[in-house]
Assembly symmetry: C2
Homo-oligomer: 443 residues x 2
Amino acid sequence: MIFDRVIHNGTIITVNPDFDIIEKGAVCIKDGRIERIEASDGNLPLPEAEDVIDVKGGIIMPGLVNTHTHLPMTLFRGLADDLPLSVWLNEHIFPAERRHINPESVELGALLACSEMLLSGTTTCCDGYFFEDHVAAALNKSGMRAVLGQGVIDFPAPGVPDPSENIKNAVAFTKKWQGISPLITPSIFCHSPYTCSIETLKKAKAAAAENGLLFQIHVAETKAERDQIQSEHGATPVQYLDRIGVLDGNTLLVHGIWLDHDDIRIIARRRAKVSHNPESNMKLSAGISPVADLLKNGVTVGLGTDGCASNNDLDLFQEMDMAAKLHKVDALDPTVMDARTVLKMATIKGAEAIGLDRDIGSLEIGKSADLIVIDTAQPHLVPMYNPVSHIVYAVRGSDVRDVIVSGRALVKDGNLTTIDLEEILERVTEISRIIKKNKGTLR
Amino acid sequence: MIFDRVIHNGTIITVNPDFDIIEKGAVCIKDGRIERIEASDGNLPLPEAEDVIDVKGGIIMPGLVNTHTHLPMTLFRGLADDLPLSVWLNEHIFPAERRHINPESVELGALLACSEMLLSGTTTCCDGYFFEDHVAAALNKSGMRAVLGQGVIDFPAPGVPDPSENIKNAVAFTKKWQGISPLITPSIFCHSPYTCSIETLKKAKAAAAENGLLFQIHVAETKAERDQIQSEHGATPVQYLDRIGVLDGNTLLVHGIWLDHDDIRIIARRRAKVSHNPESNMKLSAGISPVADLLKNGVTVGLGTDGCASNNDLDLFQEMDMAAKLHKVDALDPTVMDARTVLKMATIKGAEAIGLDRDIGSLEIGKSADLIVIDTAQPHLVPMYNPVSHIVYAVRGSDVRDVIVSGRALVKDGNLTTIDLEEILERVTEISRIIKKNKGTLR
């Protein structure tokens, strides 16, 4: 067989169920799938292939999975920081969205996000925003894999001035994007239990369930939210969502910070998934999600960056480092969230959280060829005793050299192949001048 | 006047007392010093200079100051992680040091550290280790600025088999390195109040004081340490050090995690300085230093990475991000540790902490030309509304393009000028093979 592409001469971190690591190996790709994974010490002849990538002793690993993003918010990166949550949201982010979020800016911001994600080794993201049709268009151009949901909220929102149309809109998005590309999986994204009514939540979940789609929702992000739901519904946010029937294996609970022990047991019993976003949670001072307890109870937890207005980047390598360290110091126990656990959260568990684990999240024969190459010949990655430790504690997004999605090279030797980066940066800079000029007049 | 070097066409973050930011400016260097800082919109002719660096809209800022390192421990990066502190230290790090730390490996590990620090924008470090003479040799080769202390501990240590010689050794180091290079400032480094006797601490501090040198010491890093000192001396570690007279404006307290309110007041009153090492403290689960309280009480706090065995890198950009986010979530208050405060900790406050603030830490006329250039034309740094927010929350070490120390270019367009990186990586990889082979037999 002549393979489409062979990637060789590197340490392969499979993240398969046995967490096999092949010290010197090759991954062979045919028709977008992983056809063969083998040890190759350089003495045996390489399998024949159209394209051969010699990673020169680097790391070959699954592409990272970002389980929670609001991609177009790259446009607001660093627009407002270090402010109380309500000031940040009500006086800066919401007004900026009202004025500057439109189909064109959404697509542009999403293309910027794709550039950043691809260059830092993320091959799949799970997004929720407005004008999601244009997010999908950007993803489709980029060649990345994504689960995308049009935002549902009971207020007038960009593109949905009449909130009574919110579910209709979200469903229309899923219909449109079902079947357009095998890389784009539509989903439904409800903003939260405090911004959506019972009716809205139930209808949105029913629409998702009818088509077997992922239902995403922000839950228990702040203490204020928990207190509000408790006072309005006599239940914690998770108890409330469970009571109205929206928790099941296709539900992704984003943040999940203010959870009590019962909440964790409910999530586990319903097989709902959790997206953990430590950097955003830290920066907004939302709190620390009880991730170690969730994992102990068998809950699937993936990692996410959240939007760029609260992070302020989309680099999952840094998110892994932060997650490991945050939970260690929170528990005062360095054995908590070891490197292997964290790497799984950013790959196979993330894939599980968004319903794509049969196809991605690990390097296994038959799975889609979604993988990345890390250049380890750099001062901050030498020596290398343990590649998994390096991935979590020392690799930066900028160490990614090659990115393959479904067999296609989207980053070659550090350069994007599907996006004209210079043009995107120029156009974003232009829009940002207007956003900056309007900053003072937005409130 | 013909300048030696002019760096222009960028946003200048001065970190001067008024925290001036010049949106389009130039820094002019003569004889290793900053001679002029001016707005330059590109229309006026540039001052004449031997060398001109066009930063193309990037950021020009002071070089970062790493207030706590053990540079040769780069050799043990990722050797052991996710372990209880005592197992990590006693079964991995100490045995590896006993077997593999020698003059040659120390110099090599320090050169690797210099490579990593320079390439990620650090121009000054404050180090304490064994065979410090060889750390100094490495620093001297690299052209970086450093405050260096030979380690004092009341146990047999690498290079000091007889602990009764520890102070003599440390003092000999300071004598040798006083005056060799204006970039190397000797210091004395006592390991901690629990590994040095009262006698040792007093003598070491006296030796430092006699020559006006910085006295570095790990203090209150773990709860176990605090409890031990409390039970042995009937005082907190800080009270104890104060009682024996080692706290003053030339004392750098490293970590300072388990501090109570009285400790903070004592530190403030004595004008002692603190080195905050959030990533190491998190990874080892040591705890969270009360930095916001220290700052409120007027204590000078600098940032440090600690050694590579507990971080696992020397990237101060990531350390800034981590520091800001950690303290926000710890306080559940996003206004805590705003970007400006954190940037000052990594520059002017770090310089103050190690006694070099008259010469470095900010871009001011007459100060030494220690500065760095950030390339902002990258997807994770666009748009840029606020360069200070970017520096703390989005810039990575790999975004540093040029590094100047005392007027000399040590990194040019991302490449080291004083260190043969390829050779260093090769030699470290060779040594690491032996360390790895011995890993199992060290205990």
